[in-house]
């Protein structure tokens, strides 16, 4: 997960390198640090450095890290020959390396040789059953073949042991959402909120899932989590602001005819509306009238 300013910095660097303004190495380091997926750029600029013997030797031992990064990017872009060459070079330099072995496994995956990849990963895990990366590659392998149930099983088993792996919880939640298994997704987000209670994105995702499941209790809970997202982000998260409006409207619809004491104070709703309108006025004034009439249609007539 990347912050807005990190993404802006990355995009700036990327534009600079694309326009031959230099900074390729910093760009590649930043991509590695932020763990973002920009395979075509990494391949292009990384290969340019590797193919230039002067630039390459200037890297010193970082040359191998770059080789690995380019290999993965090449596989992502299906440039399998490039990947093969990089891995060969790495294998020569590090003949007993498990890290290179992982890359070789990934290459099997990229070629679609699922059974061979599975065999490779299984044998790795025999030697080292706690290799987290290999465990996760097995999940990726299942997912790539479309065996989503297997992927879920593997991921659940992985999380039994490595329950502090937030990325894995998020991946599992996203898989559940894509299968419309919302209650299971909710459980994942609950785990994430427990372990990272100040991360607003977990609150937001949880609220979204609760809203999707529906029902009065879930809508009321969703509203609370949208509110906590707004709290944690200083009111800047638009999705949460919209979420509050949607919840209030839906709760109002559901409580029509029920006793009016269930309706909580309308202040949160009006504050959210005001915040959204202010934001649009400042940054997207052309869309403001659209927003206002859309929000009006959401306000349940009390």
């Amino acid at each position: 997960m990347v912050t807005k300013s990190e993404e802006e910095q990355l995009n700036r660097l990327e534009a600079q390198v694309d326009n031959a303004g230099g900074g390729a190495w910093e760009y590649l380091c930043l991509v590695r640090k932020l763990k973002v997926r920009r395979p075509d750029k990494v391949l292009k600029h990384g290969l340019a450095i590797l193919n230039d013997s002067k630039k390459r030797s200037a890297l010193g031992t970082e040359e191998w890290t770059l080789c690995e990064q380019v290999a993965v990017a090449a596989m992502d872009c299906q440039s399998l020959d490039v990947a093969k060459d990089c891995i060969k070079v790495l294998r020569k330099r590090f003949p007993d390396s498990k890290r290179v072995g992982r890359l070789e496994g990934m290459l099997l995956e990229a070629k679609g040789l699922w059974a061979e990849a599975e065999k490779a990963y299984s044998s790795f895990l025999e030697d080292n059953p706690f290799d987290q990366v290999i465990h996760k590659r097995r999940v990726a392998l299942a997912k790539a073949q479309g065996n989503i149930t297997t992927a879920i099983e593997c991921l659940n088993k992985y999380l039994d042991t490595f329950m502090a792996d937030h990325d894995a919880w998020r991946e599992l939640a996203e898989i559940y959402v894509s299968l419309q298994m919302y209650k299971q997704a909710a459980f994942c987000y609950e785990e994430l909120i427990l372990s990272q209670p100040t991360n607003p994105l977990h609150h937001l995702a949880y609220a979204d899932v609760l809203y999707t499941i529906g029902g009065l209790e879930n809508l009321q809970a969703a509203k609370k989590y949208y509110a906590s997202t707004i709290n944690l982000t200083g009111g800047k998260n638009r999705r949460a602001l919209f979420g509050v409006c949607l919840c209030t409207s839906a709760i109002g619809q559901l409580s029509k005819g029920r006793n009016k004491e269930d309706k909580d104070s309308p202040e949160l709703q009006s504050l959210a509306v005001a915040a959204l309108e202010k934001d649009y006025k400042q940054r997207a004034p052309g869309k403001l009238p659209l927003l206002t009439s859309a929000l009006k249609s959401l306000r349940v007539s009390s």
């Binding site: 419309q180 649009y280 940054r283 869309k287």
Partner: protein, 204 residues
């Protein structure tokens, strides 16, 4: 009137926008809505525009509801309504119309009974550079009498066509120039509202 022999005619810009959106997010599933209206003679659905929606968490309701609200508000004033849904699966060889696409399709069908669901055809998209095919790189699904979304076979009658026959040529051109970088979807808009989901300058 059901969608028995209805034709679906998609404007070039709408078509290209949706494909470029899918190309921008190659590793994810993406979706979008189709805007347009029934033709005057009632024999075709004219898809005049499209809005790319999301590239993450497609199965969650809140953002979908907000986007549809704003989209209906805007296009309603232009005499268009939501006439269909576009979906591109995450994986290359996944050719199934999944649950999320069907559910959203069902919702749109309730308001527009001639609604269509379009699924990106990855193999056709890949073969585009052979330059021979004029048919859209999408599969057409319509609701049958048993309330299921059924694939409309593309052999024989062409029930899904692009309005401009050169659409694929233009699309290929944009793909070469990596135009997909400039596509803005609703996810992008929610992250930064100064980004316009109407993509007014995309084809300028």
């Amino acid at each position: 009137m059901g969608s028995g022999e209805l034709r679906y005619e998609i404007a070039q810009n709408a078509y290209i926008k949706l494909v470029l959106h899918a190309l921008k997010h190659k590793a994810a599933a993406v979706n979008g809505v189709l805007l347009g209206r029934l033709s005057d003679r009632g024999d075709a659905v004219e898809v005049l525009d499209a809005v790319p929606l999301f590239h993450s968490h497609l199965g969650l309701l809140p953002n979908l509801e907000i986007s549809l609200l704003l989209i209906e508000e805007y296009y309603g004033s232009k005499g268009m309504s939501i006439v269909g849904y576009f979906h591109a699966n995450e994986r290359y060889d996944d050719t199934e119309l999944g649950g999320i696409a069907r559910n959203i399709g069902d919702h749109i069908f309730r308001y527009f009974p001639q609604a269509a669901v379009l699924l990106l055809d990855n193999k056709k998209l890949e073969a585009l550079s052979n330059g021979k095919d004029r048919s859209p790189v999408m599969q057409l699904y319509t609701r049958d009498s048993s309330k299921n979304w059924k694939l409309v076979s593309s052999d024989g009658s062409n029930r899904l066509i692009t309005k401009e026959p050169t659409a694929n040529v233009v699309l290929l051109d944009y793909m070469t120039s990596e135009k997909w970088q400039n596509v803005v979807d609703f996810d992008d808009h929610l992250d930064d509202i100064s980004k316009d989901w109407l993509n007014p300058d995309l084809f300028k």
